[in-house]
């Protein structure tokens, strides 16, 4: 009975894992993923904030036609209005679409590449949002990928572009390159030692923004921060990328140093904290999302420091996504109350972590 449910969890997760959750890529112990977003609009149409439903449909149809006719990628095309709300929520939790896209009156749609590395949102704040997410720290690779798609689209559809202002976007904060590059970083040692509070204002003076991983606000559940460029005008794309890269590299160095200090000054206390967290996610029967995020952060740090050895990092990445309400309910196959979700989350964690041990044992036997 237990084995059966374990298998079904594995199957469910394998179907739901998306490219950027892999645990490889440079500096992947600290930089979890890299994202590039390009905002583009079509010439001759008003922006989604002001367009008519007829314009919306035309924009949607021409973008979809251009991309679906390209034989290279094999995109899956989904209209928001035709997608059940739970599935939309799951796409948001996988960071493949933004919460804003769900406003069905704008005729929002998304085109997803097979490996889900690439998602092209149609009629979000702008007509086109090309988004590319890679695991680890891969700014150049992610940009090159997004750039290729941009070149293809530009050849098919006329963009709104201006000699002075560059790519014209609905929000003046995106005008110019239309590019937002961001890296998602796990910074537990900088958070524990409170150094992050001094670093965030310093970074903002360099034209970069640091926020919690779930968008606005500085609260960072699970010690995960998103660092991104703020300015899109007056600098070429490559320079924005290299500035962001330098800031991220400095953060990585700071974080590593703080980890070493923590380890040398209070090893037992640190080990105690990390192993307790492993205990919680392995055995808890009720697991609220805040506690789950905190414990996942601890276990991740434990693996990075070589303190916790027999847990696979990619499972932590999966659990981080699957602990969210949309996923839990999709797995359960029904809507769940908050308490039911906490129970379900605890079950999911327990079974996923024990399934991993079963697999390891089987590997040893074979």
């Amino acid at each position: 009975m237990e084995v059966k449910s374990t298998m079904s969890i594995n199957k469910f997760m394998k179907g739901a894992v998306t490219g950027w959750m892999a645990s490889h890529g440079e500096h992947s112990d600290i930089v979890m993923s890299t994202r590039i977003r390009l905002a583009r609009n079509l010439r001759g149409y008003r922006f989604p904030i002001a367009f008519t439903p007829e314009e919306a449909q035309k924009v949607d149809a021409s973008i979809a036609a251009a991309l679906l006719n390209s034989d290279e990628n094999g995109y899956a095309y989904m209209k928001m209005s035709e997608l059940p709300s739970l599935e939309r929520q799951v796409l948001v939790e996988k960071h493949l679409i933004s919460p804003q896209l769900i406003d069905t009156k704008r005729h929002g749609a998304v085109l997803l590449s097979k490996d889900e590395t690439l998602s092209i949102m149609v009629n979000e704040e702008d007509h086109i949002r090309i988004q590319c997410i890679y695991p680890g720290f891969q700014l150049e690779n992610a940009y090159d990928h997004a750039d290729t798609v941009d070149n293809y689209l530009e050849n098919e559809l006329p963009y709104a572009f201006d000699e002075d202002f560059g790519y014209l976007t609905s929000c003046p904060s995106n005008t110019g390159t239309g590019m937002r590059a961001s890296v998602m970083m796990h910074l537990p040692a900088l958070t524990i030692t409170k150094q992050i509070d001094r670093i965030i204002p310093a970074i903002s003076r360099l034209g970069m923004v640091v926020r919690g991983s779930y968008g606005e606000g500085s609260e960072a559940p699970g010690n995960i921060y998103q660092v991104s460029n703020q300015t899109t005008l007056g600098k070429p794309e490559k320079e924005i990328l290299s500035d962001l890269k330098n800031v991220a590299l400095r953060l990585i160095a700071h974080e590593r140093r703080s980890r070493e200090i923590l380890l040398s000054k209070s090893r037992v206390a640190l080990e105690n904290k990390l192993f307790r967290s492993l205990g919680i996610i392995t055995f808890a029967r009720l697991l609220p999302s805040g506690e789950a995020a905190r414990c996942l952060s601890d276990v991740r740090l434990g693996i990075d420091l070589g303190i916790i050895e027999d847990v696979d990092m990619s499972i932590l990445n999966e659990l981080m996504i699957f602990m969210q309400p949309g996923f839990l309910q999709q797995y359960a196959g029904s809507e769940l109350t908050a308490e039911e979700r906490d129970i379900f989350r605890a079950t999911l964690f327990r079974e996923r972590l024990s399934a991993e041990q079963h697999e390891e044992e089987n590997d040893k036997e074979n």
Partner: protein, 187 residues
């Protein structure tokens, strides 16, 4: 919090109204805030706060800002012919309504971009290939015109006529390219 008007989308713009009886606030989503002008905008009924825009969009609360004017004297400014967005409304919602807004507000934008983008006001990044071609066509027309003048000066009128036709054809193509919307191909 959802929009006070459509009750569907999340509210992201706050309108404050000050009257004898006190201050009232309306929380609207971007779409309703935008449409509020086109359908039932009355400047006396809903005075819009420029400070709010500046603090919200530029992160500046300093009262000595260039846009700081008394509400009554703040004019609507130019209005975009394509989407009917006025400059004042643009400041309030912090979004352009269409590509033409950029043309309509062109002279006023460097000041805003400078605040948003660390002092920068001009794009120096990627240029779409089609625009490179557009520039190339413009340049070519200029060259042909020069050659045509030379031909006329040297009384090679047949050459001049051929060049004139060539320039005309290129100008036609240029008009097609920059027309926008319908013309998808610049080649």
């Amino acid at each position: 919090m959802n929009c006070d008007n459509c009750k569907e989308r999340p509210a992201s713009v706050i309108f404050t109204q000050e009257s004898m009886s006190g201050t009232t606030e309306r929380h609207l989503c971007e779409k309703c805030a935008f449409q509020s002008q086109m359908f039932h905008f009355d400047p006396n009924q809903e005075p819009l706060s420029i400070q709010q825009f500046l603090s919200h969009w530029f992160g500046v609360n300093d009262s000595a800002q260039p846009f700081q004017q008394s509400r009554d004297s703040m004019p609507e400014g130019p209005t975009c012919p394509d989407c009917q967005l006025s400059f004042r409304k643009f400041l309030d919602i912090g979004k352009f309504g269409c590509p033409t807004c950029y043309d309509t507000f062109r002279e006023r934008l460097p000041r805003i971009f400078s605040k948003l983008h660390n002092g920068h006001t001009t794009h120096v990044g990627k240029i779409p290939v089609s625009f490179n071609e557009l520039f190339a066509v413009k340049k070519k027309i200029d060259e042909i015109r020069l050659k045509m003048q030379e031909a006329i000066d040297e009384e090679r009128f047949e050459d001049a006529a051929a060049l004139r036709d060539e320039a005309k054809a290129l100008k036609h193509r240029l008009a097609e390219c920059s027309d926008g919307g319908e013309e998808h191909d610049v080649n």
